[in-house]
Amino acid sequence: MIAQYALAVFFVACAVGIAWSSAPGAARGGAIVAWMGCIGAVALLVAGAAGLGGAAFSVSLWQVPAAASLVVGVDPISAVFLLVTGIVLLPASLYGASELRDGALRGRERPFSAMLLGLYASIALVVIAQDALLLLIAWEAMSILSYLLVADGGDGGDRAGAGFLLLSMGEAGFLAVALAFAILGVHAGSLDFAAMRGAAAGLSPELRWSVFLLGFLGFGVKAGIVPLNSWLPPAYEAAPRAFAPVLAGATLNLGLYGILRLNADLAPPAQAAIGLVALSLGAISALIGILYATIDDDLKAMLAHSSIENTGIVVTGIGSGMVFLAAGHRALAAIAFVAALYHLVNHSVYKSLLFMGVGAVESGTGTREMDRLGGLARGMPLTALAFLVGALSICALPPFCGFASEWLTLQTLLRAAELESTGAKLVFALAGAALALAAALAVTCFVKAFAMTFLGLRRDGEGYARSTESPARRLVPMAILAILCVVLGVLPPFVISALDGASRHLTTVAGSDVLVPPFFSDAPAHGDLPAGFVSEFHDLGAQTGDGLVPGRGLVVLHRGGESNPVVFAMSMSYTAPVLLLLLLVAAIVVRFGLARGRSVVRRERWAGGVRRLLPEMTYTGTGFSNPVRVIFDSVFRPTTVEDTRETVAEHFREAIRREKERVHLADRVVFRPVGRASLALARMLALMHHGKINAYVTYAFFALLVALVTMGTT
């Protein structure tokens, strides 16, 4: 009930907001977004929480004559996504409101806020749709609204081109998805999810593969899986600052939602091969995404590529879950899905935070290029801190949230030892290696991003005069997300317990049963755990904190099976306070013991004795990541645009001009050849269109002949 009321409040808020923006009046777009957006986000949070708490429902909205009934409902998966969306939309609305207030979209704030609230509504609708028709309608609405928001209100980048790419690839994906739902619907006889779920067991292998490929690739476009990610970087770059956090934190998740819904829920795989394909594509996306992120020097484009990486990690988790499900290891599948969902939650939080940070930097200095930024930590310390928290989270460093989910994903891949097929184990191993490499590159990438932007010398002259700390209305949403990063990182058992419903829905095994043993009670709730384990960990002090924190315990424990008795354990809830305590003790010892009576003197930085250290004498982002460019040259395959040397009198070198251009791997390997082939085909076919009437009449005649013959023979 609560969920239904909350959702009603949400839709009402959106409708009010849209009406308010359209009606002539004194309210400014920013205020509308702020108020209605926040109300709506809170409503979503409540709905999600209620849904996770077990209050699933399903309501048939409207019976479309001769087609299907439009059903909405909140089941555990929807609940997770509603919760995530709510978490992101609350600060994002505040942030968007502040950007609108600063006049980023001069004069078009009200249409923008209307479209934004419409987008909120369509996102929620996608997630709560319980039948294919409603989902597709909502999906279309979401696509078109995102296109409008990017192409119409964008700043910088090639807005029209980016928007077009977003829309066209999105529509291609939509067609694939529609086809997949059509197959399922025809097979099940109805477009209801419940009906499809029931009829899924009877799908033939060919149909299963087609549904998987169509659905995975169709939703994969939205998620940004390589090689379907060409639209993502330009669109994120062109997206207006007010919209980017929502784009990255909310709409990206919808692609993953679709994959989960279609390929793991409605039509779960029966063969491991399907899951392996998903797994491989996920690992490849992760690696390719972070490679391109590391060498990019525009902050927003870098974050876009990094989103591709994180999508890859989530898809890897989903894929491994699918493999384990197909192989019958439901407990392991539960772990995998928990990992994937956890990472999705984390990613939404820290990616929105990072986009907000980048937006703040851009507002403050007028540029997003790392090679022209630097030394901002002095002028904007709080923004720098927020960005740092986001960067540390995305690098998966404890005690921030990214660590728990990435740890779980990698552990899941290690569990491939339980599988029988050697081929599957090989794929898992390679995927694990790819993810490990991606994790290392992610650290490189974000060290560079943070250092080049906030540390070092200031590089660009004019824009910096204005770079003061971001106003509070921008810092508050960033602070909310930053705190969430820490909380989600320090309480993994709590998060895992919250995701129980979703994992039970997908695999009938609750994640926390497998991962978070109840050390606080003597009788283990799950028969899997021998009593000896419990008492051992009890003795180790795992019972500390009983009653203090919500959830089942402080330790995430991950065991192998009987044949593989290994244990992986982590307790961020334990580590974080101990870490703080140790730091405090160290600070006290240094301050009152070692450094007593000594003063700290600040002197100029040492730079080899140069007279003046100028900004051009410090490392640029390009220089920092050049080793990566060189090592992975075979992936990037840059083509030389220019490489000239000019001299005066053969002896005085005047200029050395070098420039290289890089085409994304996916474009180079997939799209450009396909494009060229299609154009070639089209040119061949165009030979038919030469304008001679007589020939056209002949064509018509032959077509008629063929039709008559066919009709005659059937």
């Binding site: 080899g608 004498m617 410090t618 005066v648 002896h651 050395i656 070098r658 420039e659």
Partner: protein, 530 residues
Amino acid sequence: MKAVDAATIKEAIEARWPGQASCTFDVSLRLNLARCERASLAGLCREIFREWGFAFAGLVVEEASAGWDLRYMFYGGAAEGWLHVLTSAPFDDAVVPSVAIAGVPAADWDEREAEDMYGVHFEGHPRLGDFILHDDAWQEGVMPMRRAFDAQAALRNRRPAEDWHPRRVVHEPGAFVMPVGPKFSGITESAHFLLETVGEDVIRTWTRLFYKWRAIEKLAEGRLFHDALAIAERFAATTAFAHGLAYCRAVESIARVDVPPRARLLRVFMAEIERLRHHAGSVQEICESTALAVANAQAGMLEEEMLRICGALCGHRYLFGLLRPGGMLCDLSGDACRRALEDSRRVLERMDKLERMLRISSSFLDRIEEVGFISPATAKLYSLLGPVARASGLARDLRREQPYSGYESTRFEVAREEEGDGYARLRVLFFEARQSLGIMEQALAALEDGPVHASFSPGAGAALGWVEAPRGGTFHWVRLNDEGRVARYHVVTPSFVNWHSFHLAAEKFAFQDFPIILATFDLSVAENDR
């Protein structure tokens, strides 16, 4: 390349540039003096350098009564001798066409120095300024070598440029400039390098020297000729004897005094023992730069032993206090010299062993082979000197081509390698060390009793003294006035010439090769900066 002979140069010049250039030939000095107008300067120098194959030694600017006298000094082999091209420019029109742009790239730095020190403008030269007097330390137009220069006023009124930026030629997105120095590494001379890079490898090196500029040429002016020897010996004291000898030769040339034979042979002996010691030190530098620890220690021991041999022989490890214009300041006994020779022979044997071991150490060779490449064409165009030039096929040695002080009768081979990389330079060093010992033996064998000093009183005059110093040929131009005081003292050192080409060797390499390239060149910043 036309073949010319010292005797025929006069006709060749006067035929090519009738009315614009005249030439006189001094047989005893084998010196051709060609005077020409400013307008034909560039063409004449180009012909001499490119067509006739002379090498460019240096440019001397002197403040005469009516204007600036410029002397471009060229030298060839034994047959060609010396060729000085003289021109002048009035004070109110101190513009001379740039020879560096017209075909003699070797004159590049000399012209820049003259512009900084005297304010003579070299038309067409694209890089004047910010050479010796750094723009971020001094404003333009200071001209310290002019007679009217007031040091205290200049120091009070200096205005460094506030907006100095390093010159950059690389236009690539993300390119930046890595500064190295002036204080860098462990125990190195102070020099500043700006490495243009995009992060992985260095595309272009800018050398910014003259952080150690002590204005010795200005300091020497007004000193008694005997006192100025102290400056000549000490401005680059790792090759003190060679520089002191060049200075003494210049003064002896002015005074036309004959140095006694014993002094001449002792001078040869000491110059070669200095060369042996210097090359041991160079080998040690190369081993240290490649981090080959035991070889570094072994070579370091060899250098220390050579220093001790020198110290035991004459009192001072770097051979100070031996020279005097006219001969030697003190005599050295034949026995002492023989002891020194035997000790040096033992050192050389160990040096040979070291060379054999280095030649089979593949990790060492990997680091110095194909590193810091100087092409033979570059060596010619820049008139490089010393082991650096010989490793790039330019087998020029002043002891052979313009012999002096007793080298006329010594027999030795001039090293020659073709590759022009670090390994070639290392091989040249070992080869020359062996040759040095041979020369020392010959000098000692020919040593006879006799005086070691011929006293004289010099009148006014000017002359060039040259010596093949361990790093290459060094040229000291001295002008004395009637009181025997120095009126002009200009030094062109082998490091000055070779540093000019360093940036070409230090292009397109990885960062970690930089100290190795530096070590294989073994250039002295003190020698360059003066």
